[in-house]
Symmetry: none
Subunit: 249 residues, 2 copies
């Protein structure tokens, strides 16, 4: 088990617990802790909104007080939007994630407190934490709901582990063709453009050819796509040949 414990303090609505579970599992987190929930965390609403992440709810641990829920942790963040007039360091989710990765590499355990939907954490809850966690948002409207706050914190944790590991292209692609195939297509296209008169002005021809090549060049065409382009040009051209009424120029 790795990553932060997600600690919901006195959550009001069971569907928010479910949606928070979903956000956690999306980011590979499973250690959910709940302090004095007002509604059941295994209610039908909770399960429905967890949308398949039931196992997070099933393994959630319930505590009476915040201090019990953080007892085994070495480091705790408290999420809050408002200023609490406490002298504590403040992290963004991204900064917190970096600190968490560091803590994990030292074998430490850590977690993040999230307050009730309407009021947020009480000062006594915040006091238990080492660091305040605040999401930088639109100063004129910062009304994150509980599950959204859980998502952003979990997401930043998860990004710290996967940064740069996406393939640059969708998996289905075969990758750009060898240049000789592209050049072969260029020659085919230019032959036909000469024939139909598109490149008829000798002065402009080199620039036009270069511009046309640049366009296709930039598309990083696969071998199969180049075949399609051959087909398109061929078909547009042989159409008139097939009809047998226009001579090959």
């Amino acid at each position: 088990m790795s990553g932060p414990a997600i600690i919901l303090v006195r959550p009001q609505l069971s569907e928010n617990i479910g949606t928070a579970a979903r956000a956690m599992l999306n980011c590979g987190l499973t250690d959910m802790r709940i302090v004095a929930p007002r509604e059941g965390w295994l209610s039908e609403k909770a399960i429905a909104s967890a949308s398949g992440a039931d196992r997070v709810l099933l393994s959630a641990r319930i505590f009476e007080q915040t201090k019990d829920a953080v007892a085994d942790l070495n480091r705790v963040w408290a999420t809050t939007g408002r200023d609490r007039y406490m002298t504590k360091p403040v992290d963004t989710p991204r900064e917190a994630a970096a600190h968490m990765r560091m803590a994990e590499s030292k074998g430490q355990r850590f977690g993040v407190l999230f307050g009730p939907e309407r009021t947020g954490l009480e000062n006594d809850d915040v006091a238990v934490a080492d660091t305040v966690l605040t999401v930088p948002l639109n100063p004129d409207y910062c009304s994150l709901n509980l599950a959204q706050a859980v998502l952003l914190v979990s997401y930043e944790w998860h990004q710290g582990g996967v940064e740069g590991s996406l393939p640059p292209m969708t998996k289905g692609s075969e990758g750009p063709a060898a240049k000789e195939k592209l050049i072969f297509f260029f020659e085919h296209l230019e032959r036909e453009l000469d024939a139909c008169g598109f490149l008829r002005v000798p002065d402009k021809r080199p620039v036009m050819v270069r511009n046309i090549r640049n366009m296709f060049q930039r598309a990083n065409l696969t071998g199969q796509e180049i075949q399609t382009l051959h087909g398109i040009v061929h078909e547009l051209v042989t159409y008139r040949h097939k009809k047998g009424k226009v001579e090959s120029p």
Copy 2:
């Protein structure tokens, strides 16, 4: 007005539209566009779940088709979890945010497509986009809901994106054309390909059209380049008309 347009394609539930509006405004975004919503975007449910972000809903623009919703944009991302076997570059939300900042600095307009809750975007919607946007998540459970996906993309935009890790720009100084110009060219090309018989097999037509669009899409064509392509197609075709020996099909 700055930042990406958030384009909800055929959203099913009005509360998800509301929650998406809330996520947007949290991150300072206000340009919401909705393609063929199933339920009202100004319903009581939508307003309630927007939780004070009504002005995003009130100013939302409604379109019948995806292509109309992106007509004025220079650059479009399509969010998708599944692999679509299309050859397109893939961005994480953070990478997309960095590209968006760059596009904005050049005065370009851009947006992100989000699909319906149950099914996600259709391949024809994805084909309209330049880049696929995928959130790196727990591979064993990646079931983001619509508003959560909107939140992560908006959040990364707001955070300012990654600095200093960008691929060099491959575009000319003019920048990519607005999508309506590209779509107009696609329609021109496809009309001619229908006429000459290249797209004659009805079963294969949709996939072929999508593949062809994807190729050109990827090249980030400028307005001038699109004009050149119109010219190429026109010339290849009118050549046979000019000769007066082949009838217009």
